[in-house]
Symmetry: C2
Subunit: 200 residues, 2 copies
DNA sequence: AGATATCTTGAATAAACATTCAAGATATCT
DNA sequence: AGATATCTTGAATGTTTATTCAAGATATCT
């Protein structure tokens, strides 16, 4: 039976969801065979083991996130306007009751990074790439004179990342939309201020 | 052998450390017997089970954190100055290489909250109490005219909590002290601005 | 159609795990 | 000193877990 191979992306998205929902340790192989529709043997053949499946799922998540990022920032809107839309989408994401909607990267980071250097570096690099994507957008905006030429772009990108991490953590204890929106708006204001003021 | 009972606080601090370092799921009973010096039977007798030990450790962590908080804010310094010192101490905490220095509450929250409602509410309430502690300090500062009378205190407390969550998450990928300090300083500036400006 | 190579299947395996409990030890009380 | 109650101890238990592998199934090739 050579063909009939499963759809790798779809399998990884299922695994992704299961890992985000239950966490890595509490996700059993049985959970994964159920959610992916694959049998144990197939998983071990394709991904070596549970850890390999996590690594693959992390890369898929990264790739999906990049596409989503592009979708927000590729229009010809001013960066700050795109950023506002992007932040609002995170608020919507976080405000979903019931289904646990977190970031797989940060969730896996807090859960297992300190015990597995390879997983940690995959996650760290992915998160850093995401931060660099903000960086790049801000740079483009400086070139097009939207932002002040002497604003501190690396600092802004880092502070923005930090704020979003915080927002997502905050959302785990409080899912009231208004509160989350207010926090996101505040973060946006603070980033905007940094983008206009010269760095000191 | 009636007396010779173990020192409950010390046991809980050991358990606390183990849980923070390895995470709840990856912490085995063997790890806990090793770190606490207690035998399985004693743990089950005193805390019912592993989950009970976590719950007790969470409460101990909360209580310890409150004492530490008081230590920073009970002097007669202006609130903003105490806050600065408090934030700096978090930076120092996060910048420790090697030993994983996170907040047990947020770590446990991301790992297990979505599967255990009791654990979740214990954590949520603890974190909310911590947020309220900021709240209270800001209120006192308004009364003493240090802060503007019409600043939005609940908003400030929430934004501060969010920022610290974010800082701690950020520190898991980047432990360069200068970078963390810069982020904490930025957070401080933004909170200070909120404390002086009238809310809009 | 038969042979072959490749992929699928899921029961079997072995290790790790939380939890229990009966035997042993010590202090207090009579 | 003896009896009793309480606490300690850690090997045994039964469950859950990730992982393997040999048998079975299907498509392609000759």
């Amino acid at each position: 039976m050579p063909p009939a191979k499963f759809d790798r992306e779809q399998v990884l998205r299922s695994a992704m969801n299961t890992f985000v929902q239950k966490g890595y340790s509490k996700t059993s192989m049985q959970d994964l065979t159920k959610s992916t529709g694959l049998h144990p043997g197939s998983i071990y053949c394709a991904f070596e083991n549970k850890r390999g499946l996590l690594l693959a799922a992390l890369l898929q998540y990264k790739s999906d996130s990049e596409l989503s990022f592009e979708a927000y920032f590729s229009h010809d809107l001013p960066v700050l306007q795109s950023l506002k839309l992007y932040l609002d989408s995170i608020v919507v994401d976080c405000a979903q009751k019931g289904e646990y909607k977190a970031c797989l990267l940060t969730r896996a980071l807090t859960e297992i990074a300190d015990q597995d250097d390879e997983v940690k570096s995959v996650i760290s690099e992915s998160l850093y790439d995401w931060q660099k994507a903000f960086h790049k957008q801000f740079e483009l905006a400086v070139e097009s004179k939207e932002l002040s030429a002497n604003c501190n772009i690396p600092h802004m990108a880092r502070y923005l990342s930090m704020g979003i991490y915080g927002l997502r953590t905050f959302a785990q204890t409080q899912t009231t939309r208004d509160v989350l929106q207010e926090l996101a708006d505040q973060l946006f204001d603070d980033i905007r201020r940094l983008s206009l003021e010269p760095s000191h």
